[in-house]
Every structure is written in structure tokens, then in C-alpha cells.
Amino acid sequence: MIEVNQLTKRYGNITAIQDVTFRVEKGEILGFLGPNGAGKTTTMRILTGFIPATSGTAIVAGYDVFEHPMEVKRRIGYLPEQPPLYFDLTVTEYLKFIGKIKGIPRQKLPAALDRVIEQTGLKEVKGRLLGNLSRGFRQRVGLAQAMIHEPEVLILDEPTVGLDPKQIIEVRQLIKQQAGERTVILSSHILPEVTATCQRIVIIHEGKVVAVDTQERLSAQLRRSDKVGLVVRHASSDLLNKLQAIPGVLHVFQEPVSSSSPIGTSDEQRYLVESQLDHDVREELARCVVSQGCGLLEMKSFAMTLEEVFLRLTTEEQGFQAIDKGEV
């Protein structure tokens, strides 16, 4: 449903995102996780066609964002970081306007309006001016705005920011209900936020994708291991076993270097070594590779960056303890 390929955006000398690549399947909820300033909003803005990318491609709902922006815009609902509201309009007036500019036919507009007001729980405030609404209601109007035309793709930038715990749960449920029917991307800098709603997570840090996986596998890897990537030339057949025999190494995955790699020749081999935490195996790895008569071309540590990212994420949610105790 969404295919992002090597997306890069530079503002002058500053690189906001670099080579961001991921896929989202139809009906899936994807979480976009990263600390503030990691490039989440930039990526989302590119996907919605609001800003153009410096390079790379993005295909949303079967259309290229840069070549057919209109087709894409018809099929997406977007909630920016700050809900885009006209404070002088009432909820109903505002949503009617949105419905019209999103291209809902005149006859279907009243039904769509009723449905979305019902879904987002805006019934009690529908006659009030947007400027007079509380933060929570404004956020819900923002969600209603994104969903009124029943888009195939929903892009939500920090949808639960500024809500109280009860509202957060409601919004999460609303988002979860969209799974299957719609494809959802939502961003957050709060780890539990994403794990509560999303099936798959993209972790982005300093403009780069650090990990793409399901939440269970990500946290499992994180808890257990460090990761080291190796690129080796003239790999001998039993190198894999030798590497696995090094104390502290848990797992070695073997993957050939993709042929598109600029320096890649056919006899290069890529290994991903998982090792126990607090067990630096890099020295041993290098020694082992060299002693096997293979050329060590590259070695880099992955888990460090991933961990670093996780450390910067907010891992706790305030107020949820209260919910758990049933006090709200």
C-alpha cells in the first residue's frame, strides 16, 4: 500500500532524512518511532505530498507521490502535528468544508458527517466554535478531519499528544478499529504508545531507519543481544561455524551482499552476528575472520545505535498507572 524507497530530504546543508526505505502492507498499522527531531514529520509530509523529497521515491495507494500528487491526496487522510483548524468555524461547519474539499459527493456528505462525528465522539460539541474547544476535542476534530472521506491511507503525526489518559485509550481504540480496512502510519516518540497500537514498527533516528520489525522481535533482540555486521571477502565454507564458536556469540546470520552495491563483487558475504550484552566480541570476530584467510572489509555495530535510540525514547507513560488501578 505504501512503498518508500531511499527517500532523502535535505534543507540546505542539513539532512533531515536519508535513504529512508520501508513498506506498509494494506490494512496494516505501522508505527513510526523515533526521538524528537528524528525526521518523522518530514517523512510524513513527503508521503502526503506537502513537501517534495530531494531524492528517492514514495508510492502511496498505487500512485507515485511526486508524479500523481492529486490521486494520492484523494486517497489519504492526514493529521499533522498541530491539528489544522479554523478557530472561527464550528465543528460541523469545519467538517462540512473538509468533506467538500476532499471530494465527497454532495448527497453523501450528511451521512459521512454523522458517521465521523459519531466515531470520534464529537456529538456534544458539534455546534461549538473550534477555538473554544479543549485540546482533547481539537485533536479529535483533527482525527475526524483525516477520516471523513474514508481514505485508504491514514497518516497521523503524533495523534495522542496532549490528551489525557482516558482520551488516549479512546483514540488508540479508534485507530485500531481502522486496521484491516485502512492502512495507517502513525508517529510517536513514546515507545508504549507504538507498541499498544501498531503491528509493525519503523525506528528512525537522525534521519535514518535503524530498524524495521514487529514489536516482539525488536524488543527480544534488544534485551538479549548486541549486533555486529560483517562484510567478508573470500569467505570460507566453515567461517560461519567458526564465528558461531566464539564465546559470547549467540547467532550468526548469513546474507549475500546485494549485487547493486557499488563495490560489491560476487564473492562478498555479509554476516550479522548477535552476541550477548556486555560481551564485546568484535576483536575476536576480526581475529577469527583473518585467521581463516578471509578479507575483512567492513565491521559495524548495529545494536549500539538501536539502543541509543531506545534510550532517548520516552519509555514510560504518565498517568497510566492510574488507569490500571481503575482510578480514572
Partner: protein
């Protein structure tokens, strides 16, 4: 087309929900009405004097003596109030981050720019239509030459349209409404001063060129009852140029 109507409708709603349209309209009509009253009183005195001196009915041209000064003054008043009418249009969207909403909806930038422009133009047309009470009032007591009156109104419509296009452009430059208003004041005043500069410039060709650029010189042609293609083309191209600049500015902001 439906998008355009929706966008115009939204802008009109915002104009009339907030006090802007009412305040600007009221101030405009009060000032114009006051000016007109004074000019008419002056004219009545003059005619009386003429009657005494010559002992016969005066052959004064009411269009020349009443409407021309009123309309020329109206041009100046418009210069002061039009920027207030346009300053909100893009600045407010930027400040409230609603630009993002419009740009991620299936709308073209042309539709967004034209929607705002036409809404402001409609509001202005209503103001201008209300000033038509002045000639109607005179028409009760005197005979009016409707031809030059009609061309005057056409000229005022075009002049106001040109002011609004400048104001829209200024509004697209900044998210601060006051700065938008000041920029459009500045541009409009410069264009007014051009006709003054035209007289002091030595060279005739340069003077003629500066005169051509001045928005007011063209208005006077219309007020005198002269509808020429060159004036029409001037106003239309001036408006189109400003709208084109606005379009470019809005488009370019996506790239920053």
C-alpha cells in the same frame, strides 16, 4: 469548479463571522459618505453663486464637479482599507498551520489562490455596490449621465481588484498579518507616488512609462468616461501578474 466555490464560500464565511468585513465596510462607507456630503454641499453653494451672478440656470457638469472628486478620493481611501481586507488571507493560514491541510487536500494551488482572491473581490464588490446609493440619491434631484458613471464604477472595480491582488501577494509572504498589511501599503503607495515622480522626471519617455505604471492615472480615464482597451489590459495584466506571483510564492514555500 466545485472546489473553487467551496473555497470562496469558506473565505466569505470567515470574513463575515469575524468583525473584519463589517468594520472595514462601515469605515469605508462612512468616510466616503462624509466626503460625498461635503462635495455636494460645496457644489450646491457654487451653483447658487452662479445663479446669482449670471441670473440664469447654471450649466455645471455634475459628473465633473461631484462624482469625479468623490471617486478619485475613493481611490485613496481604498488604498488605506484594502490591505486590511487582504492581510488575513494567507498569513492566518500559515500561522494556524492550515496551509498543510489545504496543500494535502486534492486542491490545486491555483484553486486556493483564486478562491481567496475572488472571495475578497466579492466582499469589495458589495462595499462598492453600497456606495451606489450616492448617485441614486443625486438622481432623485438631478439628471445624471449614467454612461461615465458606469465606466467610473468599472474603473473602481478594477482598481480595487488590483489592490486586492497586491494585498494577497503581500499576505502570502509572511505569517504576520500586520507585516502583510504594511507590505501592501508600501507597494500601493509606491505605485501612487509613481504618477508624482512621472511629473518630476526630465525624460518624456520615462515619465510616460511611470505614468503608465501608476494605478491612479488609469482610474482617471475611467472616471472621465473613457473605457480604453489599454487601460483594461493594464488592470487585467496587473492583477494576473500579482496572482501569478502569489501562486509562485505559495508553491515555493513547499520547497523550503
Amino acid at each position: 469548479m466545485r472546489n473553487l466555490i467551496t473555497l470562496i464560500g469558506k473565505e466569505l464565511k470567515l470574513y463575515f463571522i469575524s468583525p473584519i468585513a463589517y468594520v472595514v465596510g462601515a469605515v469605508f462607507l462612512i468616510i466616503i459618505g462624509f466626503l460625498f456630503y461635503n462635495i455636494v454641499v460645496l457644489f450646491a453653494r457654487q451653483s447658487l453663486q452662479f445663479m446669482r451672478l449670471q441670473g440664469m440656470t447654471p450649466q455645471l457638469d455634475i459628473h465633473e464637479a461631484v462624482f469625479r472628486p468623490t471617486f478619485l478620493n475613493m481611490g485613496v481611501v481604498l488604498l488605506l482599507i484594502m490591505p486590511i481586507l487582504t492581510m488575513r488571507l494567507f498569513s492566518e493560514e500559515k500561522k494556524m498551520k492550515t496551509t498543510e491541510l489545504l496543500m494535502t487536500s486534492p486542491l490545486t494551488i491555483t484553486e486556493i489562490v483564486m478562491g481567496k482572491y475572488l472571495a475578497a473581490f466579492l466582499v469589495y464588490s458589495v462595499f462598492l455596490a453600497l456606495t451606489f446609493s450616492m448617485p441614486l440619491l443625486i438622481g432623485v434631484y438631478s439628471t445624471i449621465d449614467w454612461g461615465p458613471l458606469g465606466s467610473s464604477y468599472l474603473g473602481l472595480l478594477l482598481l480595487g481588484g488590483a489592490f486586492l491582488a497586491v494585498g494577497l501577494f503581500a499576505s502570502s509572504l509572511t505569517e504576520n498579518q500586520i507585516i502583510a498589511a504594511v507590505i501592501s501599503f508600501g507597494i500601493l503607495l509606491c505605485l501612487w507616488i509613481l504618477s508624482v515622480a512621472a511629473r518630476t522626471v526630465g525624460s518624456e519617455s520615462l515619465g510616460g512609462f511611470l505614468n503608465y505604471l501608476s494605478l491612479y492615472e488609469h482610474l482617471d480615464h475611467f472616471i472621465r468616461g473613457l473605457v480604453s482597451t489599454s487601460d483594461l489590459i493594464f488592470y487585467f495584466s496587473f492583477i494576473a501578474f500579482n496572482l501569478f506571483l502569489t501562486h509562485r510564492v505559495v508553491e515555493s514555500q513547499r520547497w523550503k
